[in-house]
Amino acid sequence: MSDDIILRVENLRKHFIVGRKGLIKREPITVKAVDGVSFNVRRGETFGIVGESGSGKSTIAYITMGMYLPTSGTITFNDRDLFGHGDRRPLDLRKEVQIVFQDPGSSLNPRRTIRQILELPLSIHQPEKDRLTEIIRLLELVDLPPEFMHKYPRQLSGGERQIVAIARALATNPSLVILDEPTSALDVSVQGKVLNLLIRLQRELNLTYMFITHDLSVMRNLASRVAIMYLGRVAEVAEAVHFFESPQHPYTQMLLSSIPVLTEAEEALRPAQIRSTGEIPSPVDLPSGCSFHTRCPQVMDHCRHIDPLMVPIDVTGSDHIVRCHLFEQANGQVSS
C-alpha cells in the first residue's frame, strides 16, 4: 500500500506572524494559513485541491516545493522526509518535485529567451547532458516548434507562455508536478489546449499531479480525487465523481450551488437546498470550533465550540472523508 503513495502530508501547519499586539507582552498576531492538514497523493493520480482565496491551497504547494518551512507536521515524498535537511533540500529530491505557477506573465523572466529559461534547470540538474538537444526535446514534448527557443516571453501568447512554463517544470524529469491554478489567467478557448497537454504529458511520462484550482468544473474533468479546503483546513476529501455527485460537507454543497453553469444537466447537479450566505472570516481571527460555523446552514450548538474531526463516511462506497459534526454523530464518535 505504502508504495502506492507518492506524497504523504501529515498534520501540516504553517502559521505566519503578521504583526504584534499589546504594549508589553507583544504577543504575535498569526495567520494560520494551513492548520492541521493531512492527505495522501497516490502515484500517477491527479490530486485536486480546491478552495477559495485564503484557504491555504497555495501555501501547501509552496511548502511542498520547499519555498517555506512548515511550522509543524511532515511531508514525505516516496517515504523520504522533505524537510529532513532543513531548508537545504538535496538536489536529487528537489528535481523530483516541480511547480507550474498561475501567471506565466510573471513566472517567466521577460529578459530571458525561452532557450535561457529552459537552460537554467538543465544546467543545475542535468549538467552532463547536451543542453541544446535537451531544449529541443523539451519543446517537442510540449508541441512547440524548436524556433521558439529564440523568442522572448512577450512574443508568445498567454497559452504558449504557460506551455513554456510547463516545459521548464519538466526539464528535471520530475515525478510530481504541482499545478497552481495553471489556467486561471487564460481565456477559456485557450485553457483546453493547455489542460489537454497536461493530460497527455501525465500519461506519457507517468507524472503525478497536485492540481490546485478554484474552478470546480475544471476539477471535475481532470482530478481523480479532490480535497476541499476552507480557511486552512480540509473540509472533505473524496473521489472526484462522488465529490460532485454526492457532496457531503455543507461547505462543499454551498460551493457547488454557487457555480454558474451552462446546461440543465449541470443545474441538476447543483445542490438546490443550499444558498451561499455570509462572509469568509478573516484568517487572522478564525471562528472558534468549526471555522465554517458562521456560514453553515446546518449549524448546531457544539459546532461553535468544538472543532470537528476528519471522519470516514460510507455513503459512496469508497474513500470519502468529511470534517463535520453532522457525520461524527452518525458514526457515534463525538470528539471531546
Binding site: S189, G192, S217, R220, S257, V261, E266, R270
Partner: protein, 347 residues
C-alpha cells in the same frame, strides 16, 4: 418587419480605432448594439475583444487621442452621445448610466470613507441633488447601503474601503451605482474578482435589485454561465465584431456562430465528459486585421469567401419571432438580408 420600439441605448455602425506608435489599432469594427427599456443584455467575449472599449465609448470616457471614432452613432434616450455638451455628458453619467467595475478595490478611493464617496456621488448625480443638505445626503447614503443588504450601514459610512472585505466593497459599489437611480446600469465583470461563493451572493443581489428597480442592464463578462443566469438577450463579441446576438435561452440551446459554438464547447462541464481542445490559434492582430471575417483564421468551417469579405448579418428565423442574428457566411441563403442597416433603421 414590425416597427421596433425606440431603444434606450442604440449603437450603430460604431468603429473605434487607437492611433499608436507604429500604426492604427482597428479595435471596434462597425458594431451594432442596442438595449431596450428594462431589458437585461449580456455582452460576452474573451480578453481583448473590445467589450470594455464599447462601454467606455458609450460613456465617452475613452482618452482621445489615442482613441478615435471614425464612424458610427451612439444614442442614449434618443440623444446623440457624441454631440453632447460636457454638462449633458455629466448628467448622463450621473442619472442616465451607472457603471460597476470588475475590481471594487480599484474602483473605490482608498483615502476617503465610504460615506464621503457615496454622498459625493449622490450630490453630483443631478442638479436638484446639489441642494440636499448634509443630513439628507447621509440619509440617502444609508438607504443605498441598506438596499445592498449591508449590515450596520451607520458604521460603514465612516469606514475606509480597506476595512471592508472584497464582497462588501463590491456591494458598496453596487449601492453607489444604484444610488443615482440610473436608467441604465452597466456591470463590467462584477464578480470576477470575488470568490465563487461571494460572487454568487453579489450576483444574486444585483439580479434582485435590477428586477425590483426595473433598470435596463448590461452585463459584460467572459463567464458564459453568469450570462445565462442573469440576462434576457446576449451579444457575442469576437475581436471587435459582434458575431451573434440572440435571446439568452436560444443562444445557449442553439448557438450558430462557429465562435460561439467553440466557446461553449470549451467550457468544462460539471457533468464531466473531459476537456475540449478549445479554439486553435489566437485573436488576430488589430493592427492588420483580416480583411474578411476576423474569425476566419481560427474557424473550422472557413470557406474561401470568409477571408475575402466581411460577413454581413443574417437574420435566422426563430420559433416565436425571436430575432437571432449571426454574422457568418454559413447562414447565407435563404435567410440573407441584403441590406441589414436599412431594415434596422426605417427611414
Amino acid at each position: 418587419m414590425v416597427a421596433r420600439e425606440t431603444p434606450l441605448l442604440d449603437i450603430r455602425d460604431l468603429s473605434v480605432h487607437f492611433r499608436v506608435y507604429g500604426g492604427v489599432l482597428r479595435v471596434l469594427d462597425r458594431i451594432n448594439f442596442h438595449v431596450l427599456q428594462g431589458e437585461r443584455v449580456g455582452l460576452v467575449g474573451e480578453t481583448g475583444c473590445g467589450k470594455t472599449t464599447t462601454m467606455k465609448t458609450i460613456l465617452q470616457v475613452l482618452p482621445t487621442p489615442p482613441a478615435e471614432i471614425p464612424q458610427g452613432e451612439i444614442r442614449f434616450q434618443g440623444q446623440d452621445v457624441m454631440t453632447m455638451s460636457q454638462r449633458e455628458l455629466v448628467n448622463m453619467r450621473g442619472q442616465g448610466i451607472s457603471m460597476i467595475f470588475q475590481d471594487p478595490t480599484a474602483a473605490l478611493n482608498p483615502v476617503f470613507t465610504v460615506g464621503q464617496q457615496l454622498t459625493a456621488v449622490i450630490r453630483h448625480a443631478s442638479p436638484e441633488n446639489r441642494n440636499l443638505n448634509n443630513s439628507q445626503l447621509r440619509e440617502r447614503a444609508l438607504e443605498a447601503l441598506r438596499q445592498v443588504a449591508l449590515a450596520d450601514p451607520e458604521r460603514l459610512l465612516d469606514s475606509y474601503p480597506i476595512q471592508l472585505s472584497g464582497g462588501m466593497r463590491q456591494r458598496v459599489c453596487i449601492g453607489m451605482a444604484l444610488s443615482t437611480r440610473p436608467g441604465l446600469l452597466i456591470a463590467d465583470e462584477p464578480g470576477t474578482a470575488l470568490d465563487v461563493t461571494i460572487q454568487d451572493q453579489v450576483l444574486r443581489l444585483l439580479q434582485d435589485l435590477v428586477e425590483q428597480q426595473g433598470n435596463s442592464f448590461i452585463l459584460i463578462t467572459h463567464t458564459l454561465g453568469i450570462v445565462r443566469q442573469m440576462t434576457d438577450r446576449v451579444y457575442v463579441m469576437y475581436a471587435g465584431n459582434m458575431v451573434e446576438v440572440a435571446p439568452t435561452q436560444r443562444l445557449f440551446t442553439n448557438p450558430l456562430h462557429p465562435y460561439t459554438q467553440g466557446l461553449m464547447d470549451a467550457v468544462p462541464r460539471l457533468t464531466g465528459g473531459g476537456i475540449s481542445e478549445g479554439i486553435p490559434g489566437r485573436i488576430p492582430d488589430y493592427m492588420n486585421p483580416p480583411s474578411g471575417c476576423r474569425f476566419s483564421g481560427r474557424c473550422p468551417h472557413a470557406m474561401p469567401v470568409c477571408s475575402r469579405e466581411k460577413p454581413p448579418v443574417f437574420q435566422i428565423e426563430g420559433p416565436e419571432d425571436e430575432s437571432h442574428e449571426v454574422a457568418c457566411f454559413l447562414y447565407d441563403e435563404p435567410h440573407k438580408v441584403s441590406n441589414y442597416k436599412a431594415e434596422l433603421q426605417p427611414v
